[in-house]
């Protein structure tokens, strides 16, 4: 039987843990995003011609929302689990009557929530400078939750695998950040040489950013079905892998 009160408590504790350091977990990404919006969207963007029918700030905003949503959900998953392992407080959870699925749901729930809060905060900040349209609301919700889910899973996997803070940051520094920036946050794929476009189309982050951009401003450069299928495969594959590792106690049990 589902330990509902336990699950609620574990999620609320994880939320309390990231709220306790809200300057780092929430304010800091919002300030960075604000600066991106002002500099790239308003100052530089004002000198860039329209991309299709859209102002540069409107074109770049979905990518900024996605960038921050990815970072926040990844960091919550990775740092939360790693810190529990590092402090030994993972034992509090292991001795309690939680199934592995409940543990996983709690960690994922908190990480997805942090990703969504940060992403929504960026969107609200953008309203100061642009109308920040929403062409397809339900698609927006789908992309936001699905991508937050994927990166919460990736973060938890890194939180399980890492043995020190340096390892914890490896994936973000060498994979997530470069691929996000190269995934079309600041530019349309049509601005790139043809050969470079092939590489961009192999980058899954391009589909995340492009999907959210379609949901927000109604313009799309990727194959919608391909992107959708890739997200579903990634999300389910990561969830199964994570559940398997959790249920074996990989790196969380002695």
């Amino acid at each position: 039987m589902l330990n509902i009160i336990g699950l609620q408590t574990l999620i609320s504790r994880e939320i309390q843990r990231f709220s306790r350091v809200f300057i780092q977990s929430l304010i800091s990404p919002w300030i960075s995003a604000f600066l991106y919006i002002v500099i790239f969207g308003v100052v530089i963007g004002g000198r860039i011609e329209m991309i299709g029918d859209y102002r540069y700030i409107d074109f770049v905003l979905p990518g900024l929302v996605m960038l921050n949503l990815i970072q926040a959900s990844y960091q919550q998953g990775a740092f939360s689990l790693y810190m529990h392992r590092f402090q030994g407080s993972i034992q509090e959870i292991l001795v309690a009557p939680f199934s592995y699925m409940e543990m996983l749901l709690a960690f994922l729930g908190a990480a997805i929530l942090r990703g969504i809060i940060v992403g929504m905060g960026v969107y609200m900040l953008a309203l100061l400078f642009t109308s920040a349209t929403m062409a397809h609301f339900f698609l927006f919700v789908f992309y936001a939750i699905a991508v937050a889910f994927i990166f919460s899973c990736v973060g938890l996997l890194m939180g399980m695998w890492s043995n020190n803070f340096e390892q914890l940051n490896i994936l973000n520094t060498f994979v997530i950040m470069p691929l996000t920036f190269l995934g079309g946050i600041f530019n349309s794929i049509s601005m790139l040489p043809e050969k470079a476009q092939i590489f961009v189309r192999l980058n899954p982050f391009f589909y995340f950013v492009d999907g959210l951009r379609y949901a927000m401003i109604g313009v799309r450069e990727s194959n919608a079905v391909g992107g959708f299928v890739m997200i579903i495969i990634l999300a389910s594959g990561l969830a199964v892998l994570l559940w398997y590792l959790f249920s074996r106690g990989w790196r969380i049990k002695g």
């Binding site: 330990n3 408590t9 574990l10 529990h84 407080s89 993972i90 001795v95 009557p97």
Partner: protein, 239 residues
């Protein structure tokens, strides 16, 4: 029914056999001492019982419930005060207890009542708004035991609960543990203070290099006029 039943438990870390085919049981209401030097396998055994460790082979039952097959139910029966401070050190005392009680499915009302009781018993009222890292060693131990008891478990496991605790508090703790044991609580205690084990426990097991080398009533250990420390050294000396 036994409060704890361990049959043929083995656990290795790579090539090191930490626990080697051990078996023993603890009857309900017993105060059981589990002795052994550092690295003998005490904590590994306790972690296997509580789900912190996996184990390679054997069967563990808590109040008749298999800790692998019915692990969720088994865990409701056990409370653990670990040897290490395995807690979020930035969390406030009251919150540590609050969250732990919630993990065990206690309603908010039940949690509030129970936490109030525990804060009184362990004299933690004035410290309830302090973070764990702000507490002294003795207070930290009290919080750990209070946390282990928050769901009123049938089997309370105390892994070196008085390490780093001053004499006064240790005696207060002994008094309290005696009291709850006399009320029916089963307690498994590990300690390097053998006079503590001698004073509190009615039955004792000694684990040495991963194997149980002696288990029996305390009186059997003390029958030739030696105290527990002398007997312990004698038993472990030549193995």
């Amino acid at each position: 029914m036994d409060a704890l039943e361990i049959q043929h438990l083995s656990k290795s870390y790579r090539n090191n056999k930490a626990v080697d085919n051990i078996s023993f049981s603890i009857q309900q209401g017993e105060f059981f001492g589990f002795l052994g030097q550092n690295g003998a396998g005490k904590t590994t055994t306790i972690h296997a019982v509580t789900g912190i460790n996996t184990f390679d082979s054997g069967i563990i039952r808590v109040c008749g419930i298999d800790v692998v097959k019915d692990y969720k139910q088994a865990r409701t029966k056990v409370g653990l005060s670990g040897q290490e401070f395995n807690v979020d050190i930035f969390q406030k005392v009251e919150k540590i207890l609050w969250f732990m009680a919630g993990f065990y499915g206690m309603t908010k009302q039940a949690r509030a009542t129970r936490i109030e009781e525990l804060l009184t018993i362990f004299e933690l009222h004035e410290h309830k708004h302090k973070t764990f890292r702000e507490l002294s060693g003795g207070l930290k131990r009290r919080v750990m035991i209070a946390r282990a008891m928050v769901h009123d478990p049938e089997l309370l496991i105390l892994d070196e609960p008085t390490a780093g605790v001053d004499v006064e508090l240790r005696h207060d703790m002994w008094k309290y543990l005696k009291k709850i044991n006399s009320e029916g609580k089963t307690i498994l205690l590990t300690s390097h203070y053998l006079e503590e084990v001698e004073y509190l426990c009615s039955r004792i097991a000694i684990i040495h290099k991963g194997k149980i080398i002696a288990v029996g009533d305390k009186d059997e250990f003390l029958k030739d006029g030696k105290n527990l420390e002398e007997k312990y050294l004698e038993l472990t000396k030549n193995i």
